[in-house]
């Protein structure tokens, strides 16, 4: 049995070990490849940057812990951007498993900027019935969420006196890992109430968002960890934050992981065609 045949029968544990080492190495010793921001992420950044101080950005946390490495940095970077500019943040979610993640962000980020819950940030929580929730929020947020995630009546929160329905919110970003997600916000909030919508999605679902970008229904797009890293860079470059950038740090790992997969595919193909020719 020659080398190529051996390569085709390689134990998958070896592939796993190679992948693990190359993913871990840049996390311990960053390669510093650097991230440049693309036009899609810049469009989201510009839309958030255009929100006047005192107004509100709506963020829909439509993901679960499985997508946390890709999507949670987007949520954090968006919140930092808003708080640095004195823009208020309203959070809600269409995924019940995202409730704890939004709560984590609420606990960690506002104190960095001295922001108060109820005045600068509110988390509405999760409700069943995706389309009915969005349509209901279009008419009156209080009808859908009489109390916030923590049980405070919405009337008791100063921020919610100025934000009663979707029309009061100049821009929103739906951070989604699938369905329900940004497409539902486009379908109901954008088409019915004319709301401007940006999206943050996992890399695998980025291709689904492109038709909505060209049609102008989506204002901008943060695609996968790269999108999160681009937004982190934009926030830092514009002086809104000096915090650690987890997505930027993880991009070196992702670079090496992609290269490993490509090298493996090339080796696999070379070995396959060489052995096939030999068999003939």
């Amino acid at each position: 049995m020659n080398l190529l045949e051996n390569l085709l029968r390689i134990d998958r544990k070896i592939i796993f070990i190679v992948m693990a080492v190359l993913v871990l190495f840049p996390l311990l010793k960053p390669l510093g490849l650097g991230v440049s921001s693309g036009p899609r992420a810049k469009a989201v950044f510009d839309a958030v940057d255009a929100i006047p101080p005192g107004k509100t950005l709506l963020i829909s946390v439509d993901f679960d812990p499985a997508s946390m490495p890709e999507l949670y940095p987007m949520l954090v970077a968006l919140m930092r951007h808003c708080f640095a500019r004195n823009v208020k943040v309203l959070l809600c979610g269409l995924w019940i498993t995202g409730a704890g993640l939004a709560d984590k962000a609420i606990t960690e980020i506002p104190p960095e900027y001295g922001k108060t819950y109820g005045e600068d940030v509110v988390y509405l929580g999760w409700k069943a019935g995706v389309d009915a929730v969005i349509l209901g929020m279009g008419e009156n947020i209080k009808n859908v969420f009489p109390v916030d995630y923590y049980g405070h009546p919405l009337d008791s929160l100063p921020m919610m006196r100025e934000v009663t329905r979707l029309k009061d919110i100049p821009f929103m970003v739906a951070i989604s890992a699938g369905t329900p997600g940004f497409s539902d916000w486009l379908l109901y909030a954008q088409s019915r109430y004319g709301m401007r919508v940006g999206a943050g999605v996992t890399a695998v679902s980025a291709a689904d968002a492109y038709p909505y970008l060209q049609s102008g229904q989506l204002t901008g797009l943060l695609a996968g960890m790269k999108g999160a890293a681009e937004y982190e860079v934009l926030v830092q470059k514009n002086g809104y934050s000096k915090a650690y950038m987890p997505a930027v740090a993880a991009m070196d790992s992702q670079s090496l992981a992609h290269i490993v997969i490509m090298v493996l595919v090339i080796i696999g193909n070379l070995a396959f065609f060489a052995t096939r020719r030999k068999r003939r």
């Binding site: 592939i15 704890g100 492109y210």
Partner: protein, 209 residues
């Protein structure tokens, strides 16, 4: 009668809701508001149906000792424990449901499951991604361009690579995606009309009318 009344409600509400979309009158808006409240209430019942269906499915697997029945015990036990903790201590932040089950169990388990995907993808790509035909070779090249273009190392190799990846996503990918979307949308419209007009009756269930 059991079929006629739901069909009449479906026909009436279907036509009213279609018309309502184009009528901005306060009465129309109030009716729409009331309807969305009803939808939310009915959606909550769907959760009960879902849990009931899950329990029945796994009990049947256990009774018949189907392959992997042991995992049904895990599912049912997890369901019961989660429901018990939620009912006794509530679901508010700081409750055992949030602190123990969500933060310390669901988050790491869910993240681990997704993290393992990279390893299986690498192994599967090595074994299965073969350029056997011209179409497969084209797909392989497009995948390589996008994979490299979406990470910083791509720009380090060739500065124009991210732009080429963007073109692949914005032109050929989008053309295909748009065609699929149009197909899905037309299919959804046709199915909706069939349901509203009572031609498609699968949603009524299999009982006698």
């Amino acid at each position: 009668m059991r079929r006629t009344i739901p069909l009449a409600i479906c026909l009436g509400m279907g036509i009213i809701m279609m018309a309502q979309f184009f009528i901005p009158h306060p009465v129309s808006v109030a009716f729409y508001d009331l309807t969305t409240k009803w939808i939310r209430i009915v959606s909550a019942f769907a959760l009960v149906l879902g849990v009931g269906s899950l329990i029945l499915y796994h009990i049947e697997r256990l009774q018949r000792k189907r392959p992997g029945w042991i995992y049904s015990i895990v599912t049912l036990t997890a369901l019961l424990i989660t429901a018990f903790i939620g009912l006794v201590w509530g679901v508010k932040p700081g409750s055992p449901l949030q602190e123990i089950l969500f933060k310390n169990m669901l988050v790491p388990l869910n993240a681990s499951m997704f993290a393992m995907l990279a390893f299986y993808m690498a192994s599967a790509a090595y074994r299965a991604f073969r350029a056997r035909t011209k179409e497969a070779a084209l797909l392989l090249i497009a995948a390589f361009v996008v994979m490299l273009g979406m990470v910083p190392v791509g720009a380090a190799i060739w500065g124009k690579l991210p732009e080429v990846a963007e073109w692949v996503l914005s032109v050929p990918n989008m053309a295909a995606k748009r065609a699929i979307l149009f197909g899905v949308a037309l299919g959804a419209i046709a199915t909706s009309l069939k349901v509203i007009l009572g031609i498609e009756r699968g949603w009524l269930g299999g009982g006698k009318g």
